[in-house]
Symmetry: none
Subunit: 195 residues, 4 copies
C-alpha cells in the first residue's frame, strides 16, 4: 500500500484494514504512525545490510566484491518490489523521522564501497588518482538510478541482469588502462587536486 500511494498518503484506517485489524490495534505495536515507517526501515535495513556485508566478505578481490555487492543489491530490491518503492520514495524526502536511519544506512553502504575501492587500488586494478568521496557516490548513484528506472517501469524487466553491464561501466571507469599514461584527463585530474 505504501508502495502504491506513499506513506503519508496512507491513513491509519487504511493500514489497519489492510492488516485486517482495528485502528486501535495498530497502536499496540507502534508508538504512532511515524513509528510504522521507522520500524519498517529498521527491520529491512538490518536484514539487507547483513546480507551485503556477508556477500562482500566472500569475494576474493575488489572486482569480484563489487560485482557481488551490486548483484545482491539489485537482487534484494527485485525480490521485494514494494520495499524497493518505499525505500526509494522515503529515502529522498527529508522526513526527520527516518533521516538518521537513512544517513546511517547510506554511510554503511558507502563505507563498504570505499573499502572495496581502496582494496582495488592496493591490488592494482583501480586507478590511484581517484577522489574517493566522489567515486562512492558515483557508484551508489548509478545503482540507485538503475533501480529507480526499473521501479518507474513497473518492475517489468529483469533487474539483476543489469548488474554485469553496470559493473562493466563502473569498472572500466575506475580501472587502470595501459594507454592512460598519455591521457590528458589524468593530468587535469592531478591539477584539480592541487588547486
Amino acid at each position: 500500500m505504501f508502495a502504491n500511494q506513499g506513506f503519508y498518503e496512507s491513513t491509519i484506517a487504511q493500514i489497519a484494514r489492510e492488516a485486517g485489524v482495528a485502528d486501535g490495534t495498530i497502536y499496540l505495536y507502534f508508538k504512532n504512525k511515524d513509528d510504522i515507517l521507522v520500524q519498517f526501515f529498521e527491520f529491512k535495513t538490518k536484514q539487507v545490510f547483513d546480507r551485503f556485508q556477508k556477500i562482500v566478505k566472500k569475494g576474493d578481490n575488489a572486482v569480484e566484491k563489487l560485482t557481488q555487492l551490486i548483484r545482491r543489491h539489485l537482487k534484494e530490491f527485485e525480490k521485494d518490489q514494494n520495499m524497493a518503492v518505499v525505500y526509494q520514495a522515503e529515502t529522498r524526502r527529508n522526513s526527520p523521522l527516518v533521516k538518521d536511519q537513512i544517513r546511517q544506512m547510506s554511510k554503511m553502504y558507502l563505507d563498504i564501497v570505499a573499502e572495496i575501492v581502496e582494496q582495488g587500488q592496493v591490488e592494482g586494478c583501480f586507478r590511484k588518482d581517484l577522489y574517493l568521496g566522489l567515486v562512492k557516490r558515483y557508484i551508489l548513484g548509478a545503482v540507485e538510478e538503475v533501480i529507480s528506472t526499473w521501479i518507474r517501469s513497473g518492475g517489468k524487466y529483469d533487474l539483476v541482469a543489469m548488474a554485469d553491464p553496470l559493473v562493466d561501466l563502473l569498472i572500466r571507469g575506475i580501472g587502470i588502462y595501459e594507454l592512460s599514461a598519455n591521457n590528458f584527463l589524468g593530468d587535469v585530474q592531478t591539477k584539480k587536486q592541487g588547486e
Copy 2:
C-alpha cells in the same frame, strides 16, 4: 519554504503569508494547492531545460557536450539551492500530480544524453558495445547522487567543481581508451578554464 519543510508540510496560510498576500488570493492564481507545485515544476523545468538544450547545441563534439551539460546541470542546482531541494524531494515521491511532468523531464534529459552518447559513438570516442538504456541512467544517476550528497551536506562546498572529476569517471568508463591519445576532453578543459 518548501525546501525547508517540504511541500506537503507547508500550509496555504504559510505560503500566502510568505508571499505577502491573503489566503484566498492564492486561489486566483492557482487552481488548488497541488497546482502550485505543478506550476513551479513547469516553470523551472522549461527554464532549465532550455538552457540545457542551448548549451548542448554549442558543443562541438560529444565529450564537450557531455561536459558542458553536466557543468550546467550542477551550476543550475548550485545557483538555486532551494529549487534543488524541492526538485530532489518531490521528484522521488510518486505524487500522481507531478509524476507526468517528472517523467517528461526525465525523458528529455535522458534523450539529450542518449543523443550525445550516440554522437560520441559515431565520432569514435565512445565504445560501440554500450547498452544505451543503461548508460543513460548510469550518467543521470551519478550526477543526481552527487547533487543529493551536496544537498545533504547543506550545500557547503563548490558543487560545480565536482563536474570535471565526475565527467572523467563517466568518460573513462564509456570512452575507448585506445583512442585516448587524441582525447577531446583536454580541449574542453582548457577552454573552460579560460571562461
Copy 3:
C-alpha cells in the same frame, strides 16, 4: 494515583497496573470505571462517618461535641491525604455518579452539626436567633476551606492543630455573650427573618 492526576485522568490500564492485576480483572470487581469511584466513596464514607457519629455520642455538651467532631474531621483527612485530595476534588464536580452519595454524605454531616447546634441552644450556650440552615454551611464551609488550604500547601503542616483555633472562631460566633442583649445586629437578624 487519583490524588495526583484525578480520577478522570487515570486510565483503567494505570489503575490495573497500580493494583498489580490485569485490566480485565478490574471488571470482576467493578461494574465499570465509574463504579470504582462510587465504591471508593461508599467505603470511605461509611468508615469515616461511623467514626464521626461515635465521637459525637461521647461528647457531654454541644461545645465539646463540636470540638471533637472537627478535630476528628481534620484528623481523618490528615491521616489519609490522598483520600482527602480525591474527596475534595470529586466532591465539587457535578458528576451524576457520585452526586447522590455526596448529597447524602453532606446531609449526614450537616445533620450531625445541626443536632449539636440545637443541643447547644437548649443547653444555653448557643444563640437562639440562629438561622440553622446557614449556620450548618458556615461551619462545614470553614472546615472544608481549612482542609483545602492544607491540601494546596501540599499537606506540609499540622492540620489538626487548626481545630481549636477554628472552633474558637466558630463558637464565639454562635455563642451567647452577656452584652449581646444590646447588640443591634440581633434585632436586624430578627427583622430579616420576618421579611
Copy 4:
C-alpha cells in the same frame, strides 16, 4: 453548557453547535480546548475582581467593607449562575491549566480579606488575638460553602439575602463583644436598607 455537564465532559462539537459556528471556527479564537476555560477564567476574574476592589475602597470601616464585599460576592455569583457553577466546579480540581489563575485569584481575595481584618483590628472592632491565616480561610470558606449550597439547590432562593446573616456570624466571631454597645454594623445595616 459547562455548568450543566462540566467542561471536560463537553466536546468541541457541542461547544461549536451551542455557539452556532463550525468546529473549526473555535480554533480561530482559542488555541485549543483548554484555552476556552483559561480565557473564560481570565475574563470573568478580571471583571469580578475589579468590582470587588472598587466596592471595598468605598467602605468607611472594616465592618462595612467586609459586608459590602460579601454582598457583592454573592450578588455576582447570583447574577450569573452558570459562571458560578463553572467557577465552583473547576476551582476545586487540580487542572494544571487554571491552577495558577485560581491560586492568583484566591490570593487576591484572601489579601483583600486580610487587609480588612487588619484594618478592623486597628479600628478596635476585631479581636487582636486572631490567627490571620486561619481567619481568611474561615471567611472565604463560609462564603463559598454558602454559594455551593445555593448551587446544589438549583439556585432557587435569594442568595444575596444570605449575606447579612453570614456577616453577622462571621463578625460576632471575630468582634470584640465588650465594645459591641457601639457596634458599627448597625449603621451599615441601616444604610443598606435605605439603598
